[in-house]
């Protein structure tokens, strides 16, 4: 705004300047007009004015100091006083308009603006002039600078016309503009055609060839343009990069570290122990420890009485539960008439199958009388199955009455039996075992089976021992040796690598116990004759389809060890009836270890086995070679079966029996080991039974009272250690429970009318325990063992063991007492003897005796007097002498 003013002022000044130039038309004025700026007003000042304002030329103002500030008021006063004469009259208006109080008068020595003085009319100019300027002394330059400085002072941007720098040319080139006006064409048909009726129709452009015209693009080779410039669009994008990394695979490495617990040195421990703190701590906590420790000692708070109680309570049972319930009875009409069952055996693997040996119920004389008839009626072993109570499943033909038989523990298809004539018989029922198994499972097919084959198959024995080499008396007991060991020629138990039971033990009242081997004996040299014989034997076929299992043994079989039982202390021999080995296969429950049939080929195993040489066999240490034998005279003999070599004759002799217990008065019919305790033996005689412990030589641990009826058989229970069964002559069974009563049976039950001949328990199924009882009349009863007799409590074995140990102690105690009694008796006798040998004293005379007595009496009276005197009680001394 203020800039406008100088312009306006310049405009007026220029006008004013023209006027002033008219008054002073000098050539300098013309030059000055073009030279001096508008705010400079050249003045002429008379010397009077100069003196008035103090700006005399060359005196107040000089060339070096040309500036003089004049007060506006003075100028106005001067103008008023001298009106038109005043030098300031031409600038009167200007001075009046001047905003400030002081105007600048500049002595123009060089007459740059045409006069000797000039007046600065603007404030800015004044300031600019007065300001010391560095640029130059020339006033013009200063003025110009002042002018320029005025322009540079920052102001709001003022719109200026756009100055082209050349960038619009490109845009102008690109833009499309019409270079000429557009041409317009109007096409119309002839006028005469307009308005005429027209008929429109459709026509597809594709219908005719000439329907449309196209101008496709084509490459014109005559015309090519090289593209010099190309417009492309570019977009920036970031680079994609594929990269991968792999972690370091550290393979697992075993590392270990070892550390030690921190411990205190003894000094530190001492230091701690002495500290007061520890003492206080311990004395403070002591009480709670004592309380807790005593609490625990008084009672066990965590003991569960309820569970501990129920175990002992298991013995209580209702009345109905204790009886042996009849389950089934087997009686064969064809074959069991007039016969008794001598032996019963459950099939070891197939449940529900039981084998029964039938013998004639004849005494010896009758046998001899009817021997011819007996030869025509062979005896059998019958196999019964629960599913078919009428017909036996299988019949084994025996050469003679079989008194005892056993299934082979490693192969249940092999059965060994001992006959009345002293022969050992072997059967192989592998061919018929499916029949036994089939009928077990399907009870619905009974009617079908009955129609198919009414005849039960008869299996002939496949081997018998030679008569001359076997027993001379009926074989009363036969047992297999377990498959874990076998015996060498000397009777030493050695390891059995084949794990098949190959050896048998038999005993008979001909005073011998024989060991038999099922394998063919060792042949030292194959002679031609042997080979010939073998080839001759081949065409011989076995009649009746007997399997060839034991062909090598038939009729030539002989035992390899013969143990005789010479009597201790006297001549003669014991005649064994029953025997029991420590490691036997009869008494232990066999339900847990079924034989592996898949490993063995059926039937031909035994022929291939060979008796190994003595060097290869490894003797086993822990097999006991001793056996208990029950004899005909009612004795229990404890002997060893090992043979020892007699140095003189070179023969093998058996050792003398170790112990002998004469207990029962008649023959022993059962020697059986407890299945739970290997060293507890039950022997049953005719009128009593006894329990023995192996190693205790004083006598039986328990002996029963003599019973009225004859006891015929005894059998341990397989599930309860304290229970055993005794069969009696009148057909009843007694159940003895050692934990309840030892003087009488816990229960007694009558099974049949005839005497019991054999009792056997079956333990194949855990839910159902069956008792097979056979009687004299040939009937086989199957009874169910009640739960109480079947289930043993957890501690029963321990209790029984403790009881037996107590009994043993009792025996020992009795023994000791006996010895002591004897000693005392001896001493007494010795003393009596001594007394007798002493010299007899002469009889004293009666008078002498009286005199002596009187003397003694007087001595007594004197003594009495003394005592009374001493005591001071002697009052009537005269009276006492008369007493």
């Amino acid at each position: 705004m203020s800039s406008k003013r100088p312009k306006s002022k310049e405009a007026r000044k220029s006008k004013g300047k023209d006027k002033s130039n008219e008054t002073n038309p000098t050539p300098d004025g013309g030059a000055l007009e073009s030279g001096h700026p508008d705010y400079i007003f050249p003045l002429v000042l008379t010397s009077a004015t100069q003196e008035l304002f103090g700006c005399r030329a060359d005196e107040d103002v000089t060339g070096e100091n040309p500036y003089k500030l004049l007060k506006k008021e003075d100028i106005i006063k001067d103008m008023k006083t001298r009106a038109s004469v005043s030098d300031f009259s031409p600038v009167k208006q200007l001075v009046l308009d001047y905003p400030e109080d002081e105007l600048l008068l500049v002595f123009d020595r060089d007459f740059t603006y045409g006069q000797s003085f000039y007046l600065v009319l603007t404030v800015e100019a004044k300031e600019n002039i007065l300001k010391p300027s560095v640029e130059g002394d020339e006033e013009q330059m200063k003025e110009e600078e002042v002018e320029e400085e005025e322009m540079i002072i920052p102001k709001t941007p003022v719109s200026h016309p756009w100055i082209s720098l050349g960038s619009e040319q490109e845009i102008e080139e690109e833009s499309v503009t019409e270079s000429r006006p557009r041409l317009r064409y109007k096409i119309s048909p002839l006028l005469r055609h307009c308005g005429a009726p027209v008929c429109f129709s459709d026509r597809s452009a594709l219908d005719e060839k000439e329907g449309f015209v196209e101008c496709p693009s084509y490459q014109d080779k005559s015309f090519s343009i090289r593209e010099m410039e190309k417009h492309t669009a570019i977009q920036a994008s970031c680079d994609t990069k594929h990269s991968s990394t792999q972690t370091l695979w550290k393979y697992p490495k075993n590392m270990w570290t070892q550390y030690e617990p921190r411990e205190f040195s003894p000094e530190e421990k001492e230091h701690h122990l002495r500290s007061e703190h520890l003492k206080n701590f311990i004395t403070s906590v002591l009480i709670r420890f004592e309380i807790s420790l005593q609490q625990n000692y008084i009672t066990d708070v965590f003991c569960d009485d309820w569970t501990a109680l129920c175990e002992d309570d298991g013995m209580l049972a209702g009345k109905t539960e204790t009886q042996l319930k009849e389950y089934q009875t087997f009686m064969d009409l064809h074959f069991s008439k007039e016969k008794t069952i001598s032996h019963v055996h459950w099939h070891p693997t197939i449940s529900g199958v039981i084998a029964v040996a039938m013998t004639e119920r004849l005494s010896l004389e009758e046998r001899i009388d009817n021997s011819t008839k007996l030869l025509l009626n062979p005896s059998y072993i019958l196999f019964w199955n629960f599913t078919d109570p009428i017909n036996p499943q299988l019949q084994l033909e025996c050469p003679d009455d079989v008194l005892c038989f056993q299934f082979c523990p490693s192969d249940p298809n092999i059965i060994a039996g001992g006959c009345m004539n002293g022969q050992v018989v072997l059967w192989d029922i592998s061919a018929h075992v499916e029949r036994l198994q089939d009928t077990r499972s399907s009870s619905k097919n009974i009617s079908n089976k009955l129609d198919k084959n009414n005849v039960t198959p008869v299996v002939r024995y496949c081997a018998v021992s030679g008569i001359e080499n076997g027993h001379k008396a009926p074989i009363t007991d036969i047992q297999w040796l377990p498959e874990t060991f076998e015996l060498s020629k000397l009777g030493i138990p050695v390891e059995n690598p084949s794990r098949i039971s190959v050896q048998l033990v038999t005993c008979a009242p001909d005073c011998s116990v024989l060991f038999w081997d099922l394998r063919p004996p060792r042949v030292v040299s194959h002679s031609l004759t042997d080979v010939k014989q073998k080839s001759e034997e081949k065409p011989l076929e076995n009649p009746h389809g007997v399997p060839n299992t034991f062909k090598h043994l038939n009729l030539t079989w002989k035992p390899f060890i013969r143990v005789s039982l010479p009597k201790i202390g006297s001549s003669g021999e014991y005649s064994p009836l029953k025997f029991s080995l420590r490691d036997n296969t009869v008494d232990s429950p066999t339900g847990d270890k079924p034989p592996q049939n898949t490993d063995r080929e059926e039937g031909c195993g035994f022929a291939q086995l060979r008796v190994p040489s003595a060097k290869q066999q490894k003797p086993l240490e822990n097999i006991s070679t001793k056996l208990y034998v029950g004899t005909e005279e009612g004795e229990l003999v404890y002997t060893d079966w090992k043979m020892e070599k007699d140095n003189d004759s070179g023969r093998l002799l058996s050792t003398k029996p170790i112990h002998r217990f004469p207990l029962h008065d008649t023959l022993v019919n059962t020697v059986s080991r407890s299945p739970f305790f290997k060293d507890i033996i039950l022997t049953v005689g005719s009128s009593s039974f006894a329990i023995w412990k192996e190693g205790v030589t004083n006598g039986p641990i328990l002996m029963s009272a003599f019973s009225k009826k004859m006891l015929t058989v005894g059998h341990w229970s397989l599930s309860r250690p304290a229970v055993f069964f005794i069969g009696k002559e009148d057909g009843s069974i007694e159940v003895w429970d050692l934990l309840q009563n030892t003087h009488e049976p816990s229960q007694s039950q009558n099974i049949s009318s005839a005497g019991i001949t054999c009792i056997r328990t079956s333990s194949i199924s855990s839910k159902q325990h069956l008792l097979a009882v056979s009687d004299c009349l040939g009937t086989l009863h199957i009874l169910q063992i009640p739960w109480t007799l079947r289930r043993s409590s957890n501690s029963e074995k321990q209790i029984v063991r403790k009881y037996l140990e107590k009994e043993e102690e009792r025996l020992e105690y009795f023994e000791k007492r006996q010895i002591k009694h004897e000693k005392e008796k001896k001493e007494m006798e010795a003393e009596q003897q001594r007394k007798k040998t002493e010299p007899v004293l002469p009889l004293k005379q009666e008078e002498e005796l009286e005199a002596e007595a009187l003397k003694k009496y007087e001595q007594f009276l004197a003594l009495e007097k003394d005592i009374l005197k001493n005591m001071g009680l002697l009052n009537g001394m005269e009276d006492s002498s008369d007493m």
Binding site: E263, E270, L273, K279, F281, I282, V285, S292, L293, Y297
Partner: protein, 96 residues
């Protein structure tokens, strides 16, 4: 020190006590009636367990503190009493 000995003897003499161990705050045994390896094992394990039990009690209620810890196992009973600086462990066989 004699008092400490007497008190420990008294505890040891109670019926059924198998062993007594005095342990410092870091789990290093100071005095024991058992053999070294057993002692070290008991001390280390029970020390950790006691610390855990104590922190449990204090987390529930910061004003509370653990006084006595009894561990009943099938065969033994282990009792631990704790202090700021020491731990007393007693092992008893409570079966009569």
């Amino acid at each position: 020190m004699a008092e400490v000995e007497d008190t420990l003897k008294r505890i040891q003499g109670i019926n059924g006590v198998i062993g007594t161990i005095v342990v410092n705050a870091e789990g290093i045994p100071i005095k024991t009636t058992l053999d070294n390896s057993t002692t070290v094992q008991y001390a280390g394990l029970l020390h950790q367990l006691t610390m855990k039990a104590r922190s449990t009690v204090r987390d529930i209620d910061p004003q509370n503190d653990l006084t006595f810890l009894r561990i009943r196992s099938k065969k033994h009973e282990i009792m631990v009493s704790t202090d700021k600086e020491y731990l007393l462990i007693v092992i008893q066989n409570p079966a009569e």
